[in-house]
Amino acid sequence: MTTTRPLLGSPMTRLEGREKVTGTARYAVDYPVDRVAYAWPVPAAVARGEITAVDATAALADPAVLAVLSYENAPRLHDTDDRTLAVLQSPHIAHRGQFAALAVATSLEAARGAAAAIRVAYAPEPHDVILTRDHPGLYKPDEVDEGMPTDREHGDFDTVYARAQVRLDAVYETPPLHNHPLEPHAATAMWDGDDLTVYDSNQGATAVQHVLAELFGLATGKIHVINEHVGGGFGSKGTARPHVVLAAMAARVVRRPVKLALPRNQLAAVTGHRSPTIQRIRIGADTEGHVQALAHEVTTQISALDGFVEPAAVVSRVMYAAPNSRTTHRVTRLDVPTPSWMRAPGECPGMFALESAMDELAIACGVDPIELRVRNEPTVEPDSGLPFSSRHLVECLREGTRRFGWHDRDPRIAGKHEGRLLIGSGVAASTYPVYVMASHAEAHAGPDGSYEVHVSASDIGTGARTVLTQIAADALGVPLDRVRVRVGSSDLPPASVAGASSGTASWGWPVHKACTELRQRLEALGHSVPEQGLTVAADIAEDLDDREDYARHAFGAQFAEVQVDTVTGETRVRRLLGVFAAGRILNPRTARSQFIGGMTMGLGMALLEGSTMDPAFGDYAERDLASYHVPACADVPEIDVHWIEEEDPQLNPMGSKGIGEIGIVGTAAAIANAVHHATGVRIRALPIHPAVLMPPLAGARQASPS
């Protein structure tokens, strides 16, 4: 493929597309492995307590069963920071679904049968699994995400809010959400002496390598993590998960390779999820809608084992000029599964609350919601006072206004009928930070004019392999087909996880750097490549330290049109439009699909998705794809995506911002705002189910018997 078009920004088709459409792409448990055994975990059947006995007699009676592991006999692991990985190390159970035992057998069916035959006895203890705004265990965590302050205060919120002409005080709630990538968490583990090789479904081979090395007390060089193809993750595979530890442990015990694919109904408890949030927002404004005081106070939960504190108020430190502000996070420990990252952690639930509140404020002030946002556009990042490296939120709103036909919208509430359907439209803003993490890469020139680029990147479906090839070829100044990029193995130069929308920047930068230097070295050599080839390694740690201080974020605007059936209470999205400003888009084909995929997940969050904690049993009731509804083809309308050309020299050599997460930020608010416009009913707790819309709709019908 020779092309004269610029390589960065060209819609190159996915490099591994052929393998994926022919069924030959190998995922974690697809590799042919001799003498393989299969493992099946046994989830704990109490929400909290101690295991008092593990009876494996019946399970071991089947000659196909090779081992039954529990805390009584499992190999001892070294401690790590992640207590969810200390599997089968203690009789204590911290939440229902935590692994209590593991069956290993020569066939999957035998392992499954054995797991069912293991008798685990427990001494249950009382549990506490329900988050409330006044939970007695609420405390102020030290930080909410690595290095992010828990609370921030500017000016005098209380006084200014109390005197404001227009005041809004509302509480928004988001339910627990589960990532549910299509590929369940799975691993194949093999030992060769003290060398461990795992084919694992994860978002970061280097990270999993390090944690396995720690757990098993081995040098990192002894651990080989391969994640050539990964069936999605959305944050739930951003860290090592218990399945890979169990597989490695089992393989060591039975002295055979072991495959462990978690059954879908076990995922909800052990692979992370988005915590529920309760968010109180108070806004004090003048009658023109200028925000003078803003408070965003978040209440959320973590597990007894630990977990990620959902930093939902952080968006209010970025979005709007508010001279007096307060952003806080309070958290409580409950006997629940351990929460973790799900697509746009913090921003996604935080913007549901903030952007719903902005819509409410617009209505209270009688100002168009787009105009309201424009009026509150800050000149610097409100919390840090730093200049934005680039911020084109207003341009996104304006472009969306034009494309969506916003000016034709009648602002009156519940004013548009089509038979029994009420029609409405809504808007919300999107934002996501620009992260870059230190990574390494190597570029090698062969004497035959070919190039190999190595980086332990993870292509979880984003198109990383493809875009890195574009970046490499561009920096080398050669056609794409001369460059082969290898990713998906911890044996390659160490690199960061595919998370925080940082992959392309974090991997592309050292790839660009290594290739640029290689090109210069080759030029100095008069383009004659030495017989053994020429290799250049690059690391961007210093480049990151040298960066100037800027507030770096991507922005966007999302528009939704919905119809609400007044008889059934069902909401359907008719149109969705997203306009984004995310730096330079390096591959429009894969980028578009990322944006739309994010918006679709946002649509799921608005209307379909949510896990409910069962107070008596202490686990999530939705444990399969029949009860946890991810959007299906028929749920998704025409989704339109555009982006604004954005030049930003303060990012990285490619000029790109991450795009994997911003698509889900703001979608749910745009849809909830559209539902309000259609019906006059404000839904502040997601998802917008018929059951929550029916009572107010029925009330409205009675009030106006037309």
Binding site: T13, R14, E19, T22, L182, G461, T462, M601, A632, C633
Partner: protein, 197 residues
């Protein structure tokens, strides 16, 4: 039991099969055909979709005993299956396969393991090419099932409406793409096939 059935045009046998084992397990673990994916194992996601005597089914819900003497087509055999169909054969077994067709249609090498890409270079079917060209693949885990389902739709209905496509594919979940590009791919495959006729 000894299980005898046809997979991708080639007769296969497996011994000591428990009748209740899923067809998905037989394909993935016994036949070395891991293209069909297991994402839920209870008929909710469509990742395991294969053709059984021409009918798209969730392989996770079909018991091994039910496929005795029947014909299965998986994503690994889709390209050859589509080619044979284009050449006027049938491939499902339901309408009989001529000896010549059967000889031509061998998507699997004789050792029973499908090789990695390139081991037996094959021409992609229209729907496979369209999935690549339209950008309908992200992580690819839903892709094998979607391809089998979409190919079956186009076999029945050469120019499906958007509603036909959504209906036919509504049993196949995709968590990555938002479906837009998948719809595009089906439209593209239909348009190209029409042009070619």
């Amino acid at each position: 039991m000894r299980l005898t059935f046809t997979v991708n045009g080639r007769q296969q046998e497996a011994d000591d099969v428990w009748e209740g084992e899923s067809l998905l397990y037989v394909l993935r673990e016994r036949m070395g055909l891991p293209g069909s994916k297991n994402a839920c194992e209870q008929g909710e996601c469509g990742s395991c979709t294969v053709r059984l005597d021409g009918v798209p089914v969730c392989a996770c819900l079909v018991a091994a005993g039910q496929v005795q003497d029947r014909e299965v087509v998986t994503v690994e055999g889709l390209a050859d299956y589509a080619r044979q169909r284009a050449e006027g054969g049938c491939g499902t077994g339901a309408c009989g396969t001529s000896l010549d067709d059967a000889k031509r249609w061998q998507s699997k090498p004789a050792d029973g393991r499908t090789g990695e890409a390139g081991a037996f270079p094959q021409q992609l079917s229209a729907i496979q090419r369209a999935f690549i060209d339209a950008g309908a693949v992200q992580c690819g885990f839903c892709t094998p099932g979607l391809l089998v389902a979409a190919d079956e739709l186009l076999e029945r209905n050469a120019s499906p409406s958007d509603e036909d496509i959504r209906e036919a594919l509504s049993g196949n979940l995709c968590r990555c793409t938002g479906y837009e590009k998948i719809l595009d791919a089906v439209r593209l495959a239909a348009a190209r096939t029409e042009e070619a006729v």
